[in-house]
Amino acid sequence: MPVKKTLSLAAVLAVLVLAGGAWYVTRLPASPFDGETAAAPAPDLIARGEYVARQADCVACHSLEGGAPFAGGLEMGTPLGVIHATNITPDPDHGIGGYTLADFDRALRDGVTPDGRRLYPAMPYPSYEKMTDDDIRALYAFFMAGVEPVAEPVPENGIPWPLNIRWPLAAWNAVFTSGAVYQPDPERDALWNRGAYLVEGAGHCGSCHTPRGIAMNEKGLDSSDPDFLSGALLDGWYAPSLRGDGAAGIGRWSEEDLFAFLSEGRNAHAVVFGSMTEAFNNSLQFLTEPDLRAMAHYLKSLPGEGEAWVPAPAEVTTPAQAARAGLPGAQSYLANCAACHGRDGSGQAPWIPPLAGVTSAQVAEPASQINVTLNGSGRVVADGMPDAYRMPPYRGRMDDAEIAEILSFVRQSWGNRGGAVDPADVADLRSRTDPASIDPIVLQMR
């Protein structure tokens, strides 16, 4: 299933306006590795690089289901046209086999290819630039020596001239990236700093969870900014706030809950779904326990706002009661959803998530709930085992009005405050999304 990343037209216009001098936009930025010739990497460096590749979730964009690892090809639909993730295997012609360590570094942390072309910021270099030199070196070792070269060309991008001119992105970079490796905060302990490094840097959590500005820039890139990780709409999913917001964020979650979620994909409050499933299946769960605990610790430190969800009792708990009360949404919920999510929305955690109190039912943006109802969720594969229970797609069984009714019921019951859903929003998402795959999808790292 192609991931549709959205870059608005406004973004590109803004970029064009910001165009600077030709020298500036076509120069190769300096790299600390300039002039360095890499020796044959030691096995432990390659292994470390593989681990960094997990942190950075390279596989999710640069591999296709059933395709060779890192051979690229993932299609991303943008309002400008289609772009493709590139082949990053060490093939000299189609991949990055000809890259020096400095070339690799410039691509990763500056978004510039050896021939001076600028990468689209679908490549999260504004986050990757925080990665340390050591991690870059390890990652390079992994891609050069730990990945099989694949002589597969990447399909042509479908962005038309003049929008395909890349040099204005240099100006974008100048404005919207910080240009610096992560600097530990001396006020914080090592655990927090490690978590911040992973979340803000390689983990590039903000790519999905931070709202974007007019030029598609992430509104905040670190913990100092209240917009950072405060929730964003992307690809038909609402990536919720990872801050301590009472209802809309993870305010109710303990650090232990967070750790369970990151390591097992599920906890008492939620199960990963939507695009998060891919990040979890392919990368997140493979991080070490100390790293996942550091991420949980860091995330839990982000302040939030808003009152916590307060549970309210269920008003109707059987279809017959709902029918008598004239509540069609409740009736459909109880007939179709309650078997798994409970008559009172309490779910069967950690296997099947509750809907009472769930973040996606508190936020005004209903995209995630509509999307998961229409399309179901991909299989969560934890520790090699696909989940026992999967959310089926309902697009075949329910029309827009019925889905809107059910979700309106869910979002206004049991203390939830998300509000009603408009059938037009269901229709819109129906037209541009596909049902999730029934089969577990595991992308291969090597």
Binding site: A320, A323, A335, A339, C340
Partner: protein, 153 residues
């Protein structure tokens, strides 16, 4: 863990996330409860949990510690269930029969909740699928059970 099934405490050693359906069928040999979809879509696996209908294919067994489970095998020992079966026979509801364990259980649950369900109650509640198309007969039996004059098909 311990489960109470049809009035008898049973010791279960299945993993906690195993669906009740497969514990019933494989561990306890209660094969009257049927597998149709495993996805909460058909209702063939319906059982009573504390008198309410549940789809056992999507119920992890560990959620049921302490609950009273009644399967189709014991439905006639419930007075309401016995009446349902009697009417199912009288109205000749089943064809292939595969969905009917679930239908009888769903009907029993509704009548326990509402002894005289309206047509709307029945429509809202009796949502299990039947590929043989016995729906007219189910409706006739339910109307009868609700104490209303109905058609004998």
């Amino acid at each position: 863990m311990q489960l109470t099934v049809n009035g008898t405490p049973r010791e279960i050693d299945a993993p906690g996330d195993t669906p009740l359906l497969w514990v019933l069928r494989d561990d306890l040999g209660l094969t009257g409860t049927k597998y149709g979809c495993g996805l909460a879509q058909c209702g063939a696996c319906s059982v009573l949990v504390d008198g309410q209908v549940m789809r056992s294919c999507v119920t992890p067994v560990e959620m049921l510690e302490g609950a009273e489970i009644t399967t189709i095998e014991a439905i006639e020992s419930d007075p309401v269930g016995a009446r349902v079966v009697e009417k199912w026979v009288e109205h000749q509801v089943p064809q292939c029969g595969y969905c009917q364990s679930g239908q009888v259980v769903a009907a029993t649950a509704l009548l326990k909740e509402i002894p005289e369900p309206t047509e709307e109650d029945i429509r809202a509640t009796m949502v299990n699928l039947c590929r043989c198309g016995t729906y007219n007969y189910i409706r006739a039996a339910m109307t009868d059970l609700a104490g209303r004059e109905g058609e004998t098909l």
